[in-house]
Structure formats: C-alpha cells, structure tokens
C-alpha cells in the first residue's frame, strides 16, 4: 500500500475543504442575501466546474498557470516555480474543481432559513456579517457539514485534474486515485482491489461517523413534541 500517496490525498482533501469553507460561506451568504442581478451570473460561474470534464479543466489550468500566460508568470514570480507538478498546484486545481460541492449545499441551507427571522434580525440592526455569523451559520449547520463532507470526498476521488496537472510525482502530486489508476492500467488488479477497498472502506466509516454525530436520530420527533 502506498501510504505516502494515502497521506498526501488526506492532506490535499483536508486543505481543500478548509479553504473552500472559508470561500463558500461568505460567497453563499452573498448569493442568498444579495439583491444584485449580477449574482445570478456569479452563481452560474460557481456551478461551472460541474460541466467541464475534469481532464479538460486540468488542461486549462495547466495552460493558464504555466509560464506562457501573464497570470502564470505572476505566480512563478511569487512562488519561484510553476504551480503545475506541485502540491500547491493541486490545491488550486482542487479548490476550483470542488467549488460547486461546497457552494450548492450551503446556498440551499441559507435559503431554507425562515425569511421572517432574517427580516427581524435586520430590523434589530444586525449587519450582514452578524447576520451570517449568528443566524445563518447556526441554522444551516447541517448544510455546512454536508458541504464539507462532499468537498472532502470529491477531492479524495478527484482524478482528471490531478492527472492533467500533477505529473505523478511521489510525495508531491501522486494521490491515491492516481495510484489506483496506475495499478489498473498496469494490469496489477490485485493491488488495485486493495487500494479501492481501502478508499471505499475508509470513506464508508468516515461517512457513518459524520452522519451519526451530525444527524442524531429522533431529532425531528423531539422538535414536534416541543
């Protein structure tokens, strides 16, 4: 078992999830609370990574982040190396790739908050920042947990972007999905089954753990009686 790839994958998924929550919570609040017509455009753009095949997305990133664009040259000037073939490059790719998985559930959760509560909070003088912090986030906690879980799992299983952007470098860009793909392509099926079993087994356990803590059963009945 390629433990180096295993821990690299967990690091990539964890970091991507953390960054995306920081981006997605304010962005979703803006989409739900904002009144500008342009927000529909922003919402559409935030959903676009779902449309593009991941390998194509990876290819665009490879070209855009490379030294042949002004943007890419800027990155290289700051970092001292191109983003492609590096762990930080994979983080950038994963954040873009998993953006819809973070934004969509949180937007749904914020939208489900009773509008009267939002109006009341506004009347009592709550600014947007306080509105999000003390009202939306606590009430949409489950949606935020769902967003985090989806983002994490989606990044663990991410393949196309990594394939196009990574260059298969052990310890930097060789993730578990690349290892699994290599095993299958090299006809090493026994090893592929082991890797897939590890991925699936851990994911199932992690999901069960999250759903038992995040969704205590019987909540709904309790709230009915109250």
């Amino acid at each position: 078992m390629d433990w180096q790839a295993f821990f690299l994958t967990l690091r990539l998924a964890g970091l991507t999830t953390a960054i995306l929550l920081v981006i997605a919570i304010p962005l979703s609040a803006l989409l739900v609370l904002g009144r500008s017509r342009w927000l529909a455009v922003v919402e559409a753009l935030a959903a676009l990574p779902l449309v593009l095949p991941p390998t194509v997305l990876g290819f665009f990133l490879l070209v855009m982040l490379g030294p042949r664009t002004a943007f890419g040259r800027g990155i290289i000037a700051v970092l001292g190396h191109p983003l492609a073939f590096s762990f930080s490059g994979l983080v950038v790719g994963s954040v873009i790739y998993s953006l819809p998985f973070a934004v969509q559930p949180i937007v749904a959760g914020f939208s489900a908050v009773e509008p009267n509560l939002v109006d009341a909070a506004r009347l009592l003088g709550a600014g947007p920042e306080r509105l999000v912090r003390t009202l939306l986030v606590p009430l949409a906690k489950r949606s935020i947990i769902a967003a985090a879980v989806l983002t994490f799992l989606h990044t663990v299983g991410e393949f196309g972007v990594v394939l196009m952007l990574g260059g298969d470098i052990p310890g930097a860009t060789r993730t578990l999905s690349i290892v699994l793909y290599n095993q299958v392509e090299n006809f090493d099926y026994a090893a592929a089954y082991r890797t897939a079993a590890l991925l699936l087994g851990l994911s199932v356990l992690a999901l069960i753990a999250i759903y038992t803590t995040a969704n205590p059963r019987g909540d709904f009945r309790r709230s009915r009686r109250a």
Partner: protein, 259 residues
C-alpha cells in the same frame, strides 16, 4: 412548445443509416495524426468504412479483454497484441503465421523543446543544469516512456535525470507539459513532434536509434470479429508499399514486410 421538444428529441435519436460495410479499429493514441488519411484512402479503394477509436494501447487491451466490439487492434507496441494472442482473443498474421502480430510501423523517439525558450534540443541538453523538468510518458506502460528510460540508461543519464521527471499519462500529454511551458523539454514520439501544432511551436532532436530498443508497433485481428474479410483487407492495405511509404511523412518508418 412541447411538440417542438418532441420533434427535436426525435431528430437527435434518429440513428443515421449504417453504411453497407463498416469495420471498427482500436488504435493506439499515437496514430491519431496518421490514420485518418489512410482510412479515407481505404474507403476510396474498397468502399469499406473504418471507424477508429484512439486510446492508450493498455486501455484498449483491457477493453478487448472484456469483449469490446473491435475488429482490429493497432497497438503502439508488440507486448499487448502478443498478450491478446496468448489469451486466444486475437490473431496475428505477422511472419505469415497466426501466432505473431504484424509489425506495421516503427516509431522514433525525439527530444522536444519550445522554439521560444532558451534551450535547444540535443544530447547535451540532457546534461544541462538549466533543464529543470523533463516530461516523459509513463514508463510502466507507454511504449515511448519505456524507450525514453532505456535511452537515458544507455546514455548514462538516467540517475541524474530521474528527479527531474514529470510523468505524463501518454505521449500527447508529455508534449502538452512542454508545449504549455510547464516542463523544459520532453521525450516524445516523432509522430507527435511532426504534428502541425508542435511543428509551429518547437524543435526536436532525434534520439540516436541505437540507444533504445526499436519501438515496433503491432497489429492483430480481434478473434470475435464479424468482419474478418473486411478487417484483413484493411491490414493488407496498411501493409501495401504506397501506404507504408506514406507513414514516413508522419514520423513512422515502414514495418516489416509480411511474406
């Protein structure tokens, strides 16, 4: 509105009528710049339409092992066709027997760089400190990747260059890594280097042919074909002298004559 939608849906679903005869070819990805004109000429000559699927030879091998409906397999190496023959899934016609693949072409390995960079492709470049990243195709399965490793070992540069490798899934991705400026140079196929895009963007140096085992590309007939006669016609056409000569234009050299 609904009626229009139904009309559109019908238009989309209406299958085009099949031509009288059609063969399906599974072809190695490196043939993408090569086969289309040959397929067109074959249609002119015989009236048989050949539908080609281009993918990595390894992936095509897996698909054929799992019953993919191909009539012919044109691989980028000899190992995969041999493997299929050994499993009883394919027949070769090479050397006049059913036991070995036809060698329909030989590939060449080149070192490629962008024109607008400061690096010129040569054996010296491989020793140059300015070379930070060298793109190669995956040596576990891509024939040109295997050849690249063999050539570097023969030149005594493998250990020094190993930390500089960026591994691409296949030869065209290795070229992308360099063409996008993310890698400084790449060991790719002459076939890729001769495409319009890469000719416009870069320069290549042919790695001496004696520094790696020949990249012989093998073709086999898939045993479960329903189109045995038409598929064999295509193989004969592919091995005919004028078509074999044409291969040079695309960076391949003729294969071995079949007796």
């Amino acid at each position: 509105m609904m009626r229009h939608l139904i009309l559109v849906a019908c238009a989309i679903l209406a299958a085009p009528a099949f031509p009288a005869q059609q063969i399906r070819i599974a072809a190695a990805a490196d043939l993408e710049p090569v086969l289309p004109p040959i397929v067109e000429q074959f249609k002119q000559a015989t009236g048989i339409n050949a539908q080609v699927t281009y993918q990595a030879s390894a992936a095509l091998t897996t698909q054929i092992q799992n019953g993919a409906p191909f009539d012919l397999f044109l691989s980028a190496n000899l190992d995969y066709p041999r493997k299929l023959i050994a499993a009883g899934l394919a027949e070769g016609l090479g050397d006049g027997t059913a036991g070995s693949p036809i060698v329909y072409a030989k590939g060449a390995l080149v070192l490629w760089t962008r024109k607008d960079g400061s690096l010129t492709p040569s054996v010296e470049l491989l020793r140059n400190r300015a070379l930070k990243r060298l793109a190669i195709a995956n040596p576990d399965r891509a024939p040109y990747g295997k050849a690249a490793i063999a050539a570097l070992q023969k030149l005594g540069l493998y250990e020094a260059l190993k930390p500089k490798f960026v591994i691409a899934e296949n030869i065209s991705q290795a070229a992308q890594f360099v063409d996008s400026g993310n890698a400084d140079a790449g060991l790719i196929s002459l076939t890729s280097a001769k495409t319009a895009r890469l000719t416009a963007d870069g320069r290549y140096f042919e790695i001496p042919a004696d520094s790696y085992p020949p990249i012989e590309q093998g073709a086999v007939l898939v045993s479960r074909t329903q189109q045995r006669v038409a598929a064999k016609k295509f193989l004969v056409f592919l091995m005919s002298a004028p078509v074999q000569e044409q291969l040079r234009r695309y960076g391949l050299t003729p294969g071995r004559r079949v007796p």
